[in-house]
């Protein structure tokens, strides 16, 4: 088991390297392939008085003229050892972990990411709790009461949930609950948990529910389908043959097996979400990683986009790793040696 963890960890690190390499290449190579010159790329970062030579020297300072692998090498080195950025006027130190330096807002990207992460984590975890509880619960009950009104109604609602874009439901909910009824905080009113837990929850409750509604739908459907399949398994029959009551059969024998696929999907979903709930954050103007990325893309602030993408990828990879390790806990058949 221990060896397995180590092996998976190493695998995750390698994966992260590859992902970062590809991401880096896409952001710095694709524009070049598409016809942008290094001067084009550098011209975003120079002042208004810059002439051709100044732009070119900026491109050189930024390292755009170096081969891509050297640029990438510097970037990776920065993550571990920190990096120095020559803005032309001064050399700015970006302490480790340095996920790049924005020449547009003139600050290292990492502190921003850390700052925004709190919002995204708050949003993602809160919503996850709600959708897990509701999604899995509804799915189980639906499976056990297959064909009943509850089953049809909840599956209908679940389908509606996955059939609506979140910015639609989000805006609708804001219209009704914030501006119409005044029950919840308007969009864009985020408060840190540490500052005021009540306001924090108040500002997030609507995004939580909206996001959870969307996801719960999928989980309910998945849980129901898996549950139906599981309840037809031989071991369920065995459990019944032992004379166990139905509750024990469902919870201890049925649900336990449903956990594995739920866990897989949940890990992936949460990982993706932690890297920035782009649509939800945009809809509710929550200053999380997703909003940060979208804003950065609008202002063409590549280092920020790269930073968020890498953090997002890291979350996904970590989530996958955790899921894999949890497999071992949940499913003893997954043998590690």
């Amino acid at each position: 088991m221990f060896a397995y963890i180590i092996r998976r960890l190493i695998g995750a690190v390698i994966l992260l390297f590859v992902v970062s390499m590809v991401t880096f290449a896409i952001f710095f190579l694709v524009p070049r392939i598409a016809g942008a010159t290094v001067e084009d790329m550098a011209s975003r970062y120079v002042g208004k008085t810059a002439d051709e030579a100044a732009i070119h020297s900026m491109a050189e300072r930024l390292g755009f003229t170096d081969p891509l692998y050297e640029q990438y090498g510097r970037f990776v080195a920065g993550i571990f050892a920190g990096a120095d950025y020559d803005t032309g006027a001064e050399v700015v130190h970006c302490p480790a972990p340095c996920f790049g330096y924005s020449f547009i807002t003139r600050n290292p990207v990492w502190p921003d990411l850390v700052d925004r992460m709190g919002v995204t984590i708050s949003l993602a975890l809160g919503a996850a709790v709600i959708w897990l509880a509701f999604g899995v619960g509804t799915g189980v009950v639906s499976a056990l009461r297959r064909g009943t009104f509850f089953d049809r109604a909840s599956m209908g609602i679940a389908l509606a949930g996955v059939s609506l874009p979140i910015f639609f439901t989000g805006l609708l909910s804001l219209t009704i609950f914030s501006y119409g009824l005044g029950w919840t905080a308007p969009g864009g009113s985020y408060t840190d948990f540490a500052e005021d837990p009540l306001q924090w929850a108040g500002a997030l409750i609507l995004p939580w529910i909206t996001l959870a509604f969307l996801n719960a739908a999928g989980y309910a459907r998945l849980t129901r389908a898996t549950m139906l399949e599981t309840m037809n398994e031989d071991f369920i029959r065995t459990a019944r043959a032992k004379g166990l009551n139905e509750r024990t059969v469902v919870v201890k024998h049925g649900l336990r097996s449903v956990l594995t696929p739920i866990l897989t999907i949940f890990g992936l979903d949460l990982g993706i979400l932690l890297g920035g709930a782009v649509l939800t954050e945009s809809t509710y103007s929550l200053p999380g990683l997703g909003k940060y990325a979208v804003d950065a893309i609008v202002s063409n602030d590549l280092p920020k986009v790269l930073g968020v993408t890498l953090v997002g990828a890291t979350f996904i990879i970590i989530a996958n790793l955790v899921v894999d390790l949890l497999y071992a806990v949940v499913d003893p058949r997954v043998r590690y040696s």
Partner: protein
Amino acid sequence: MRKQRTVTMVAAGAAAVMALSACGGGGGSNNNSNGGTTATGPNAAIGKVFNPSDKKGGTLRMANAGDWDSLDPGDTYYAYSWNFIRLYGRSLMMFKPAPGQEGAKLTPDLAEAKGEPSADLKTWTYKIRKGVKFEDGTVVTSKDVKYAVSRSLDKDTFPNGPTYFNEFLDLQGYTSPYKDSDPNGLGLKAIETPDDNTIVFKLSKPFADFDYFAGMPSTIPVPKAKDTGTKYKEKVISTGPYRFETNELGKSFTLVRNEHWDPATDPNRKALPDKITMALNVNADDIDNRLISGDLDVDVVGSGVQPAAQAKILADQALKANSDNPLAARLWYTNINGDVAPLNNIECRKAIQYAADKTGYQRAYGGATGGEIATSLLPPVIPGSEKIDLYPSKDNAGDVEKAKQALAACGQPNGFETNIAYRAERTKEKAVAESLQQSLGRVGIKLNIKSYPTADYAKLYAGKPDFAKSNNLGLMVFGWAADWPNGFGFLKEITDSRTIKPAGNTNFSIKDPKVDAAIDKAMTEKDEAARQKAWSDVDRAAMETAYALPGVIAKGLYYRPKNLTNVFITDGFSEYDYTALGVQN
């Protein structure tokens, strides 16, 4: 040129795109001077002070749908920032805190009086007020001002600010105090400080309106000892009535009273609230909703409410009574690119001028509330501007017959095909492109719509002549606002072909020697009235070339929450004057 920088901010995605900050005139020329009023009603804060008050105390709550370019006085170019910065910094000159056109006049701030020019207008001398202190109690000297201006010259470190000092000071190769041989960073020869209270600017060419330069935030003193370069924006040392209490970049900041600000040295500022809070990156529609509900006092960006709130306010008399709808010194227009065939032929350009339906242009910006239809470049609020309409049509809906004649004259009787560019995140510009596509389509001019990222519009796309030409960008939607309300401040940067660079331009299309000649004439005209007329001639000359299709003179619909006191629109910024505002509770 409060140029594209001013207008860069964009709420991402579908969320609304904010319109812009603006400078210039308040609702025509009716100027009731300082007569105050408490009577509510639409436009109650235009040309007069609404709800005048001297009551101190309370917290002024402001919000920004985007973020500052920089809080550093040497690195900021947004109109609202120049308006707001007066709360924590004192430049040599400033716009007078007064309603209407009075607000567009300069008054001494850190300086004791207006600048004294030499006879050749190349040397300007200012005396600095005594007793002005930084927030830490240190006395402000002329060297702090010199240092501040010197550092603002460094556009690598401070890319956002204006470049007037770079262009006009006799730099002699000086680039930056950070690369200065003088340990105090005072090696710039173009500025002299004979004593602690005197500062002398030496220009490379004569310039009569230097006081406007002296009113820029880059003359706000910066203590060398506290200067942290790019990081100074995180901890700006105040000279104004307020200082930073907290400052979380990109999120929020708060200002509290600066004990070392002495009202005796400052005849201009009222400094009514005890505290000012600012929330950044708030959804624009949410800002409007909070203004209307009273949870917020000011939308600092000062470009008016979003379309949704606009419709809501206009439809509700009670809300409408609390709104102002001033005209700004801002023009929404479309460049016609002579580099792209067949637009190199003036007749084809004229065909576009005639064919365009300006009412559609106006609708794109929100109808009559969003702006007045423009027939030339210079906004009417700028003194000396004249009504010039060289391509008239009934109800401004376009003259199809004239357009077809022009097309025939151009040798394209069946029309032609070209591209129209707009800034991707600007939904209003998108609406303009769609509208022009329809109206030009009436005469067979087929437009293909292309969008480009707002942030790089000038640097990589429309503002880069090579790109525009090779991508066949015949039309390029754009907008322009004056840095200050006069002809120079508005027209120079968008009409002078000699300033056109390989990339990063603000003048996308107007390239004509006649226009350049008219500019030179206006620049050297010493008499003010004649100078104003000369700039109007520049406007006419530019329109004769048909290189620019004027669309709309911007107006914004401002909502004025009941909590605010001492509210008025200043023509200096076409916004509420932030130095004057107070709150009731």
